[in-house]
């Protein structure tokens, strides 16, 4: 077994231990926030891949999260009963629509969550490719500004669009049925299964990303992160690899948006807000940039504390402050690979020798 397998097993153990702890202490209601934490963590690990490994910043990932969430929310709540167009009846005959009752007992005919999810992801992929192509030619601050722009555009669109609920967002989103009787829903009777489902998705995502890091592509990303011109000169198509990583991380964010929207039963415009994007970047930074496990553990702790309301009205300020402090004092991230050796060097008295050629 390799080290990454141990880490995955260890983290899985932690997830089980947390659930058992809530059972023993009779605090199972914590599982709700822990489940939401899992979906936010999915955004974080995808973004960590982009920032830490491919070396590209994005201040717009809340936008991709919102694309996922809003597409699925809209499609699964949009009543097609009175729509008798040819396309709708074709969809209905092919089983892509479902009939269900709304909260008032009225009948609804809506797009099946699976189709909604697939549509959400596809739209995300298209947007990420279209936007990422030109934007990733930029570097540093310029890339940060441009991606910030993407996030703002998505935010203004969802806020300004009547059929997306404007400032109220979309509510009454149904559960997401999965094979084996599982349903992604906030229903408290399914709390435990949803907790494991959400963290299962995160662990699966982690395994995929860990595999990627230790593959030929991971090596190429590390190379282009370190010396782009040299990577290009060795035949690594740097622009394409950056774009693919951007799209991959956008898909992680979008899937998280889809699942959390079904879990919460709705989504509002604040999910697309710039402060959400800043929060994601701050957590990746404090997690150590090129450190998936660091980002994941920081996400677990900070998102949970935030969702439990520990930061009160300073919620956004806390994450902004984290970002500022990290940039000032540990621009490589806090939980980075050489943390301990760096600390030793910092505290040892003879680090003057470092400067010698």
């Amino acid at each position: 077994m390799e080290r990454k397998h141990f880490a995955v097993a260890g983290f899985t153990g932690l997830i089980v231990a947390i659930q058992l702890a809530t059972r023993i202490t009779g605090t199972e209601y914590f599982l709700t926030q822990l489940t939401m934490t899992a979906y936010y963590s999915l955004v974080i690990v995808g973004l960590c891949m982009l920032i830490g490994y491919a070396g590209q910043i994005s201040l717009g990932h809340a936008g991709f999260f919102a694309i996922g969430g809003y597409v699925t929310a809209f499609l699964t709540t949009w009543d097609l009963k009175s729509n008798h167009g040819a396309f709708v009846s074709l969809l209905e005959r092919s089983g892509a629509l479902v009939s269900r009752q709304d909260v008032y007992g009225g009948n609804l005919l809506t797009v099946h969550p699976w189709l909604a999810c697939v549509s959400a992801i596809l739209l995300t992929v298209v947007v990420a490719y279209l936007v990422g192509g030109p934007v990733l030619k930029l570097k540093g601050h310029y890339l940060a500004m441009a991606t910030l722009g993407i996030g703002i555009i998505v935010y203004r669109i969802v806020l300004g669009t009547e059929f997306l609920g404007a400032s109220d967002g979309i509510s009454e989103v149904p559960g997401f049925p999965l094979p084996g009787g599982l349903v992604v829903t906030g229903d408290s009777s399914l709390r435990i299964s949803n907790y494991y489902l959400a963290w299962g998705v995160v662990i699966l995502g982690m395994v995929l990303l860990l595999n990627l890091i230790h593959s030929r592509v991971g090596r190429a990303l590390a190379a282009l992160h370190g010396a782009e011109d040299a990577a290009e000169a060795m035949g690594i198509p740097t622009a394409r690899y950056k774009l693919h990583t951007f799209v991959l991380s956008a898909v992680f964010a979008s899937l998280a948006g889809v699942l959390l929207t079904h879990f919460n039963g709705g989504i509002g415009p604040s999910e697309a807000g710039v402060m959400k994007s800043v929060r994601y970047v701050a957590i990746v930074a404090i997690g150590g940039m090129a450190n998936l496990w660091g980002a994941l553990s920081m996400s677990l702790v900070l998102n949970y504390l935030s969702l439990r309301g520990y930061f009160g009205t300073y919620d956004d300020a806390v994450f902004g402050a984290i970002l500022i402090l990290i940039m000032l004092f540990a621009p490589d991230g806090l939980l980075r690979r050489h943390l301990f050796s760096d600390m030793k060097r910092l505290f040892s008295r003879d680090h003057a020798g470092e400067e010698a050629p």
Partner: protein, 254 residues
């Protein structure tokens, strides 16, 4: 047989004509040296040949195809790789990883295969590793395999950079001042290494300021000054060329 052919290539940076109507050929299997005073345009010529810059005018033909419009990535895939005057190793990567990254074009696992860790990728990784160790053995750097490449001594970093390029299995290797910053012993070793690389069947084009090294190993020498070719000949004749002597020595005398 000609592997690389530069035909009437020019490049301008604002008001500076860095390369002017330059033409020369590189024969397959040879070592060719490109020399000239500081700022003559040698590195610019390398950038043009390797696709990091594109000429304003002229053609560059490599292995029978025009490449002047290609990116450096496409050029590398076609079998031309370079080293840099200012060493450009991949930081935070070991020597082994640096060299393995050089095998990129000879492997194919993409994003999906990598994420799913498909069985063919394991075999591929094993092959990449074996080939990389083969190269490190040839260069005598196996003991440093697990060392961070940029933490090595300067001379060894140069060797690693050449190893990374060789991992690409290039037809043509461009070396930009491979002996810069090396001591005499290291320079001699570098000369022997370059000859060995040529004997492996790799054509070499190098820029170098160390004249004894150039004269010892190269089959042909091109001299440029202010972006223009002033001589092209065998090393012995170049040493006697009055124009070359003037460019190299004359300027100091005024």
């Amino acid at each position: 047989m000609t592997l690389l052919s530069i035909r009437g290539v020019s490049k301008r940076f604002g008001g500076l004509q860095a390369v002017n109507d330059l033409s020369f050929d590189v024969a397959a299997g040879s070592i060719k040296a490109l020399i000239g005073p500081n700022g003559a345009g040698k590195t610019t010529i390398f950038n043009l040949i390797s696709g990091s810059l594109h000429p304003d005018r002229g053609e560059i033909v490599f292995g029978g195809a025009e490449i002047q419009a290609m990116s450096s990535c496409e050029v590398a895939v076609r079998g031309m790789v370079r080293t840099f005057q200012h060493i450009r190793l991949f930081p935070k990567m070991t020597v082994l990883e640096n060299i393995m990254a050089g095998r990129h074009v000879h492997s194919r696992a993409g994003f999906i295969a990598g994420m799913l860790s498909l069985p063919f990728t394991w075999k591929e990784e094993r092959r990449i590793r074996e080939r990389s160790f083969g190269i490190m053995e040839m260069l005598g750097i196996v003991p440093h395999a697990e060392t961070e490449a940029v933490s090595l001594a300067y001379g060894q970093q140069r060797v690693v950079e050449i190893g990374r390029a060789l991992a690409c299995e290039p037809k043509l290797l461009l070396l930009d001042e491979p002996a810069a910053g090396l001591n005499m012993r290291e320079t001699n070793e570098m000369g022997r290494l370059i000859s060995r690389i040529r004997d492996m069947g790799v054509t070499v084009l190098l820029v170098e300021h160390d004249m004894s090294l150039v004269m010892k190993i190269s089959d042909e020498v091109v001299v440029v000054s202010y972006g223009e070719k002033i001589a092209e000949d065998r090393p012995l004749s170049i040493q006697k060329n009055r124009e070359v002597i003037r460019v190299y020595l004359g300027d100091d005398e005024c």
